[in-house]
Amino acid sequence: MPTIHFIQADGSRRELETPEGASVMQVATGAGLQGIVGECGGSAMCATCHVYVDDAWAGQLPAPLSNELEMLECTASERLPTSRLSCQIKMTAALDGIVLRLPATQQ
């Protein structure tokens, strides 16, 4: 199963194994990971599952669709070029080992 490496704003790390096809937000909330809220359940409606994709991985994700781009304007923490909504990142074998940094706040 692909693994995701999360790095919290305070530098602490956690690895989670994921079934293929699950969204990063689902995996993170399912495990109760602090720092990912996912209030709307993955509808790209709330911008509370914001992550920064590590530079080495940023180019390997499909580009965000328009509704994700719009919601990225509404994140509680600063939007960076590597910002994504984790509900829109579907895990695949090719993303095994992806590194995601969590913002200081989601709300």
Binding site: G30, G32, M45, E73
Partner: protein
């Protein structure tokens, strides 16, 4: 901070599971029992009217993995609903006969779908949509039929209608009121929603009376619609929901369109709290009693209840917000629609995108957005901080709404 004893939560919906999550963060996980009527672990309900119906292979999105409950020390009772509360002994009884003691009990029992009073239950081609089991039944039927009739032009009915239309079904919506979404949105937004659904090929009939029925065995054959026999293939009842407060009523708790709670989510018995769709709470600005059916309300009342259970009373005062996805329509509402207000239109980036700003006097009280999530998020922040830019400024599409924060 006072230490709570055993906490029993009845109901595995959004409110119940968010309460569990909050109690775990507060360090109380090992004291919690979660009592679920359904066999599944708590799951996300919003997808049930959309992606879940569209994709036969789509599973439920669990709020928390099974391992999380175990690691948190939460005992989950599945497919074992509570049947009685004994307030004197501070115990509840489950259907299996098990008895659970509590120091605090939290009722997160939600709602049940309203049914047509004259229509018998158990008809094989009549469905409601509350639970995963309901959604599976509806998905199975949509796989084999070409026509869907929806009674009720509310959020659930219209979401399913749009999903079924996207699947290529012939869809009709029968609404008794003179317009769609009567309880939920402004007349202007309802009119826009109507036009979009009609343009997508959904037949919407307003102001119709659904009367008698004709069944053959366990199958509904026809309904009388405005007195005319109307053949039914599959029928979805989307005529609202009623609060599930049977247990509370039996236990003698005050109930009035929901379990009556104070600003701290405490019922008329301070050892028993109620949160989410099932409770009637004092609306912070007006003080009048309100019951809301929404994910936001469930989540925020769960947070208030965690504070109460932790001995850190903080009155509930979250801004209500709602969303509904209906085909190409992304509707997002912030604040409560005023009974009498003045509406101003803010145009969005495309013709399919706009917001309606509702003012009472000079005060901005509610914003409805269509395909305008950036304006919706800005509206929530404006309303939360009680800022009211003048309407002509707030409606200038050249200036981002968030610049008035």
């Amino acid at each position: 901070m006072s230490e709570p004893g055993l906490i029993v939560v009845i109901g595995g919906g959004h409110a119940g599971v968010q309460l569990c999550a909050g109690l775990v963060v507060a360090g109380h996980g090992a004291r919690v029992h979660l009592v679920c009527e359904e066999p599944e672990l708590p799951y996300q309900r919003p997808p049930l009217s959309k992606t879940f119906l569209k994709n036969p292979g789509e599973g439920l999105q669990l709020h928390r993995a099974e391992a999380w409950f175990g690691e948190a020390g939460i005992t989950v009772h599945r497919a074992d609903p509570a049947v009685a509360i004994d307030r004197a002994k501070r115990t509840i009884e489950l259907k299996s006969g098990a008895r659970l003691p509590y120091q605090h009990l939290v009722l997160a029992t939600g709602t049940r779908a309203r049914r047509l009073p004259h229509l018998p239950e158990g008809l094989c081609n009549v469905v409601v949509l509350r639970s995963a089991a309901d959604a599976e039944r509806l998905r199975d039927r949509l796989g084999s039929v070409s026509r869907l009739t929806v009674v009720g032009g509310g959020f659930i009915g219209l979401e399913v209608a749009a999903t079924a239309r996207a699947l290529g079904k012939a869809v009709e919506v029968l609404e008794a009121a003179p317009r769609l979404l009567l309880r939920s949105v402004s007349p202007e937004l309802a009119e826009h929603v109507l036009q979009v659904h009609r343009a997508s090929g959904i037949e919407v009939r307003l102001g119709v009376a659904v009367g008698g029925f004709e069944a053959e065995g366990d199958r509904l054959r026809a309904l009388a619609v405005d007195g005319v026999r109307h053949e039914i293939d599959t029928l979805l009842l989307g005529i609202g929901a009623v609060p599930e407060h049977g247990l509370a009523t039996q236990a003698g708790l005050d109930c009035d369109n929901g379990i009556v709670v104070d600003a701290f989510m405490r019922s008329s018995d301070p050892a028993i709290l109620a949160i989410g769709d099932c409770c009637s709470f004092p609306e912070p600005t007006s003080g009048r009693r309100l019951r809301l059916e929404s994910v936001q309300n469930a989540n925020d009342q769960a947070k208030t209840a965690v504070a109460t259970l932790s001995g850190q009373l903080a009155a509930h005062q979250a801004l209500p917000w709602f969303w509904s996805e209906q085909g190409s329509l992304r509707l997002q509402m912030a604040g409560l629609m005023p009974a009498k207000g003045v509406r101003h239109l803010r145009l969005g980036a495309s013709p399919a995108s706009f917001s309606l700003l509702h003012y009472v006097g000079d005060r901005l009280v509610s914003v409805e957005s269509v395909n305008a999530p950036v304006d919706h998020m800005a509206a929530r922040k404006l309303l939360e901080s009680q800022r009211s830019p003048a309407a002509h400024l707030a409606c200038d599409p050249a200036t981002p709404l968030k610049s008035w924060l």
